[in-house]
């Protein structure tokens, strides 16, 4: 094996390890792990099961909100949420039918939402404006219409 090949392979291995270290550091120290909530729910009884029997937005602290939301073809419940700038929003999500995706453009919110499973993701909204919420997993004929907004004032 040539010296330059050894150097190349050493750098390759090093690059992979650096990616590993950063991913681990962000997940553990900065609490930026990917959405991985593990609670389950009966997918056919979402409307009767707390907290999804009362979907909506609720203030839970200073500048802190909880949004309980269901996704179903081809809408979100509740739609058109409003929060003040600087607030942190904790989303609790589940699907009433097929697999959906929950994405908010211009933020890092991106999570799969599946029937039978409860997914959680949080985001701090600093910049005022209107944000597009969309479903990013194909869910049927009206998938392209499945969107709503979050207004930050």
């Amino acid at each position: 094996m040539h010296l330059d090949e050894k150097i190349w392979l050493f750098l390759s291995f090093g690059m992979i390890m650096i990616f590993m270290i950063f991913t681990g550091y962000q997940a553990v120290a900065l609490e930026m792990g990917p959405p991985s909530h593990k609670e389950t729910i009966d997918p056919q009884k979402v409307d009767q099961t707390a907290p999804f029997d009362q979907p909506g937005i609720k203030q839970i602290g200073e500048n802190e909100y909880e949004v309980v939301m269901t996704l179903q073809i081809f809408s979100f419940t509740p739609m058109d949420i409003e929060v003040p700038a600087g607030s942190t929003v904790h989303f609790t999500l589940t699907s009433k039918d097929v697999t959906h995706g929950f994405q908010v453009a211009n933020t890092n919110i991106n999570a799969m939402v599946m029937p039978g499973h409860i997914q959680k993701i949080s985001q701090k909204f600093d910049k005022p404006g209107k944000y597009l919420v969309l479903c990013n997993e194909y869910c049927g004929a009206g998938h392209q219409a499945m969107s709503t907004t979050i207004t930050v004032k």
């Binding site: 991985s36 056919q44 597009l132």
Partner: protein
């Protein structure tokens, strides 16, 4: 043993002297013909989607965007790639192992027709809009049962072909004790092992979870489990097509440029880890899923990134071979040797562009396998851009390059200078189309544009977020690609039936003179398969047991399109 050795090596020599065995050629030609018809149809549907997303084309009522997208994905990822891979490796096995055994030939035909019947069963419900469920067919979306029966037959066909390849290889090894499997057959062995491993997962999903459920024998389906089983297959499948392309990069391209191949030992040491570690990569499609703990997801970052290492070895090896060959031909300077490469030869040009494309493609793959970065691009157009680079360029352009010698070799015809010119033009148009399309898709994805979504403005958000001009560029790319597809399919069928008669060689590069002998442990396939199973168990046993034990009540079937 000495005489047995001699007689087979005579057989191999006659095989190489007389050119291809006609019966074996018929098998490979049939597979390749199906592959390129699939490219034509898939490309046409790709244009329809590109123009729709560009906002130029409104689809008629009888063709829904998602139906078109399902067909596009299946035709290109399942039909084209699989049929090409099988046709190519069966030709390689026939050429390097002294002709296919009669029973292997029979198995190849049984596999062919099983796959074709399976494919027809899949296509009928897709055409009837009864199966617009995409390449991933995630439950609880439920297609017509015929769709799943078709998938089962396709998998059975793949298994038949794999068994055929194993019989051929085992027979050669029995008659050549102590010898190394020829390198092309070595790659083929790895590919067929992975095909069996990957399809086993999807077979379990379809046979034990989906079919009883769509037939109404079970009430609900485990959504997470089926999705996880799918990705153990879905990701490995595309890596198998990539490994097929890699085989040509190591074995064929050095011969075409008039050089020797890279160290035999290191080549085999790229194949072995790709076989052992590949199937576990599927989990990185589930980084933002619920029901998988962060710890498991972190372990899978490592398992996915580890697959990158053999590819980085490959990058070094190939450019080293190019440099060495060009310098032997009188190339000089730090990069001046580049001028000595056969740029006008499509058999080199197309795969070369494919390799270059793998640099950004592989880098993007590493980026999106890490948890936080994946969260930014998951299910956006970025991913679509990524696999149009990896599959649409690295794999497909290599396959196209192969077709310019493989098809004349099989049909006992030659590649004429004019046809070579068609190929070069084809490669340039294809490259332009893919580059425009893939770059626009990557950027649109970073801005949040979702994948698998027909034309939509989301109010005025699409305009405001800057997606529209990028989507228009995707439409332009798709148009160029269809032009290139038509040229390619024309070239393939011309070389199969009309090109001037003559002999074309199956180009397999020799080792460097005086190269060190490869140690025999590389041939221990039994050990590699056991290691592969261990790695798979390490990756899958804990999460799958968790998904079964802690499963929510199952979901009923839905038809939402």
């Amino acid at each position: 043993m000495q005489t047995a050795l001699k007689s087979t090596s005579i057989k191999q020599k006659t095989n190489q002297a007389l050119g291809v065995n006609l019966e074996d050629a018929r098998i490979s030609k049939s597979y390749l013909a199906v592959a390129f018809i699939a490219v034509l149809l898939g490309g046409l549907l790709g244009l329809v989607q590109g123009l729709n997303r560009a906002g130029v084309l409104t689809l008629p009522a009888w063709a829904n965007y998602y139906q078109v997208l399902t067909a596009h994905g299946l035709l290109l990822v399942v039909v084209f790639s699989a049929f090409f891979t099988i046709g190519y490796f069966y030709a390689g096995l026939s050429h390097t192992l002294g002709g296919l055994l009669p029973k292997v030939r029979k198995i190849a035909w049984v596999g062919f027709w099983t796959k074709i019947v399976g494919f027809v069963l899949v296509v009928i419900p897709v055409l009837m809009n009864e199966a617009s469920v995409m390449y991933t067919f995630y439950p609880p979306m439920a297609a017509h049962p015929m769709f799943y029966f078709g998938l089962v037959l396709i998998v059975l066909g793949v298994w038949a072909l794999s068994v055929g390849a194993f019989i051929q290889v085992a027979n050669w090894r029995k008659n050549h004790k102590g010898q190394h499997l020829p390198i092309m057959a070595f790659f083929a062995t790895g590919v067929f092992i992975l095909l069996v491993g990957a399809t086993a997962f999807v077979a379990v999903e379809v046979l034990f979870l989906i079919i009883p459920w769509v037939l109404g024998w079970t009430d609900g389906i485990n959504v997470m489990l089926s999705r996880t089983l799918f990705w153990a297959f879905g990701h490995t499948a595309v890596n198998i097509w990539y490994l097929t392309a890699v085989s040509a990069w190591y074995v064929v391209i050095p011969k075409i440029i008039g050089g020797h191949r890279w160290s035999d030992l290191l080549t085999r040491m790229v194949v072995i880890p790709l076989v052992i570690m590949n199937i576990t990569g599927g989990f990185h499609h589930q980084i933002v899923d619920p029901a998988i703990s962060e710890g498991i997801k972190y372990m899978h970052v490592f398992m996915s990134l580890a697959i990158g290492f053999p590819s980085l070895m490959t990058a070094y090896a190939l450019f080293r071979v190019f440099e060495r060959t060009a310098r032997q031909k009188g190339g000089t300077g730090l990069i001046g040797w580049f001028k000595k490469m056969p740029w006008g030869d499509v058999r080199f040009l197309s795969p070369f562009i494919a390799m270059v494309a793998f640099i950004p493609a592989g880098a993007g793959g590493i980026v999106q396998s890490t948890n936080q970065l994946d969260q930014v691009v998951h299910n956006t157009m970025w991913i679509v851009g990524h696999f149009h680079l990896t599959l649409g360029m690295s794999v497909v352009m290599t396959f196209f390059g192969i077709s310019y010698w493989l098809i004349p070799y099989l049909s006992k015809r030659v590649l004429t200078p004019n046809m070579n010119k068609v190929g070069v033009i084809q490669a340039i148009i294809w490259t332009a189309g893919m580059v425009i399309m893939a770059i626009s898709m990557h950027i649109a994805g970073l801005f949040g544009s979702p994948r698998r979504t027909s034309f939509t403005t989301y109010g005025d958000f699409a305009e405001q977020l800057g997606w529209n001009p990028l989507m228009a560029a995707v439409g332009i790319g798709a148009t160029l690609l269809l032009i290139a597809v038509i040229l390619q399919v024309y070239a393939v069928f011309n070389m199969m039936f009309f090109a001037p008669k003559g002999e074309t060689e199956f180009p397999i590069a020799e080792e460097e003179p005086g190269a060190a002998k490869t140690p025999y442990w590389t041939e221990r396939w039994g050990v590699w398969v056991v290691l592969m199973l261990l790695v798979i168990s390490m990756a899958y046993v804990i999460p799958i047991v968790d998904m079964i034990v802690n499963a929510p009540p199952g979901s009923p079937p839905f038809k939402t399109w």
